[in-house]
Symmetry: C2
Subunit: 351 residues, 2 copies
């Protein structure tokens, strides 16, 4: 192993470990000679401080934890990338953890990070399955432990933690307006799981946007997915078989959209022709699709940056104001004129 310790450095440099430590941490109470000799010794021995020992004493680890819901979802990997870059710029190492949309795995990761005494946590919280967005006991413990923490993307309503979220009101308004002007009246919504606050927000904003556009809301046009591919596929079949024959659908995240599009392709249902589609999250797969899918997208770079800034503020014991970013709508050919009433994709349900 790397058996070189600060004592070795001190010995070679002819100073005490205390002085060596001061030089290494940039403490001004060091003479130029001492500095030079310690630096030479470090170089000579290839000394690399033991982070464990260092942070055991100093209670600082220069690292933060980032918990996301799913590494393989480009939405979150973009977020992770942004957080990592900004944390890096602030001299912090980021540990990325994966909850797999599962509150048990989340708690596991949080516990390890807590025991490793990270300087702070940025969390996309998984609520408990049943009660919408309710904190787990481990989450409570983190809060009690007073480790700086901020939520990003999602929140839990029963825990007061600074949070950075995105709202989709305006973007959904635009999307619905675009659909309406293309003659769509009955618009379905494939939403996310109850435990995610984003699912609720998107669903509410959807209903609000319908009303704002003078269209009726209808609970029967709402499908409860879980933000994962398979449930998108289910939603796609539900949509095709729907008795009300909606002519358009909005899908609340990219994995579900991809699942849905795959099903529709298999069943030879024609997106853009038979019905129109708008999906959340601007990912390659949706842009490569033919026709390209109109999307409601978030600025994940901004979200990551804001999350890091908020966390740094909490660490510095300052107030971190909650921030709500706006989303933007991009019209693409998956939105087209609604087919004449009562002639909607009837032959498309089975190939």
């Amino acid at each position: 192993m790397n058996a070189v310790t600060i004592k070795d450095v001190a010995r070679i440099a002819g100073v005490s470990p205390a002085t060596a430590s001061r030089v290494l941490s940039g403490n001004p109470a060091t003479s130029p000679e001492a500095r030079a000799r310690v630096e030479a010794a470090v170089e000579e021995l290839g000394f690399l401080p033991n982070a464990q020992a260092r942070s055991l004493r100093s209670t600082k680890t220069d690292s933060i934890a980032l918990l996301i819901s799913d590494v393989r979802n480009p939405y979150f990997s973009d977020l992770a990338h942004a957080v990592e870059q900004h944390a890096r710029a602030a001299g912090l190492m980021t540990f990325i953890g994966n909850a797999n949309e599962d509150s048990a795995q989340q708690d596991d990761f949080l516990a390890t990070m807590l025991s490793r005494r990270v300087d702070g946590m940025i969390v996309v919280p998984q609520g408990l399955g049943e009660q919408a967005g309710t904190a787990t006991s481990m989450m409570r413990r983190i809060v009690d432990s007073e480790i700086p923490m901020v939520f990003v993307d999602r929140t839990l309503h029963d825990i007061a933690v600074p949070n950075i979220t995105a709202q989709s009101r305006e973007a959904l308004n635009e999307a619905i307006a675009a659909l309406k002007s293309n003659g769509h009246r009955r618009i379905a919504f494939i939403g996310g799981p109850k435990h995610a606050s984003t699912a609720l927000e998107r669903h509410r904003a959807f209903d609000a946007a319908l009303e704002a556009n003078g269209l009726p809301t209808d609970a029967a046009l709402h499908f409860a997915g879980d933000f994962r591919t398979a449930s998108g596929a289910d939603g796609a079949r539900w949509f095709l078989a729907h008795p009300l024959a909606p002519s358009a659908v909005i899908i609340a995240d990219a994995p579900m959209a991809i699942g849905a599009l795959k099903v529709w392709r298999e069943l030879r249902a024609k997106v853009g022709t038979d019905f129109s589609v708008v999906a959340f999250d601007e990912v390659d797969a949706l842009l490569m699709h033919d026709p390209p899918i109109a999307t409601i997208s978030h600025n994940l770079e901004a979200m990551g940056r804001a999350a890091v800034q908020a966390l740094l503020a909490v660490i510095r014991q300052e107030e971190a104001d909650p921030l709500e970013l706006v989303s933007s709508f991009t019209l693409r050919p998956s939105v087209a004129t609604a087919p004449p009433e009562n002639a909607v994709h009837t032959e498309g349900t089975r190939p």
Copy 2:
């Protein structure tokens, strides 16, 4: 903070810290009563051991580092996911780091992990920019420090470390055979950067497959990309403008393929009609494309599993045999009959 220490637990339980520690680590030399009382105390106080202190003394961290080239590349996020799941099953926490295809960021991450004394490292090595696949000095240090390490996906030729890679010979043979049987003779190759061993392997296998199929190799049909989207776009333009008018192209990874497909779409060059395309890595964006892209894919789940197993073997001081996984070719409609000679995508170069 979590000010509860093992001494508090010991005091409440009425035992010494030594005994408390034994109970916590499952040491058999403990009486049932002691065990019960310590466990009760732990429960009561909500004690969570300080990982720093623990591993400072025990020189074990129950964690490994995984360094990948690019979090946002689905190829690597799939690999990361697989590694994480298998490490988790073995009781190891995984720290995921992102090199951004950059050896400086790689070294940074490796240094932090070294100073944190992880139990092992799984690395997709970035070589030095110029000299093909040469180790950096930090990489050398890791090797010298004798921290268990394995390479995955890529290797460095001047460092002897167990490695798990994938070879693409058979899959490329099949791909070329499929192209040939569709009448393609001049097949271009958009490859990766010199510093990645996978780039070299794929390029060589490509040439070998041409020969095996009785087709001539030609350096002029090779474009040197860098595995990133932008260079794929460049490659796409290079392909369209190529004086030899190749009728098919194989692209060495998904980000480059996506970059290329976007360009072709913009320029209204018709994939599958004007020319045929095969790409490495089976990612959603390539499957959603119209027409779906034929791919050469690796089993990343198997690769991740093998990497974890190899690392565990090294940690146990056993021999870890290098493993080469095979790739598989999936024919899709992006491969079609070659257009008649000399009529190739001439109007496609500019819209």
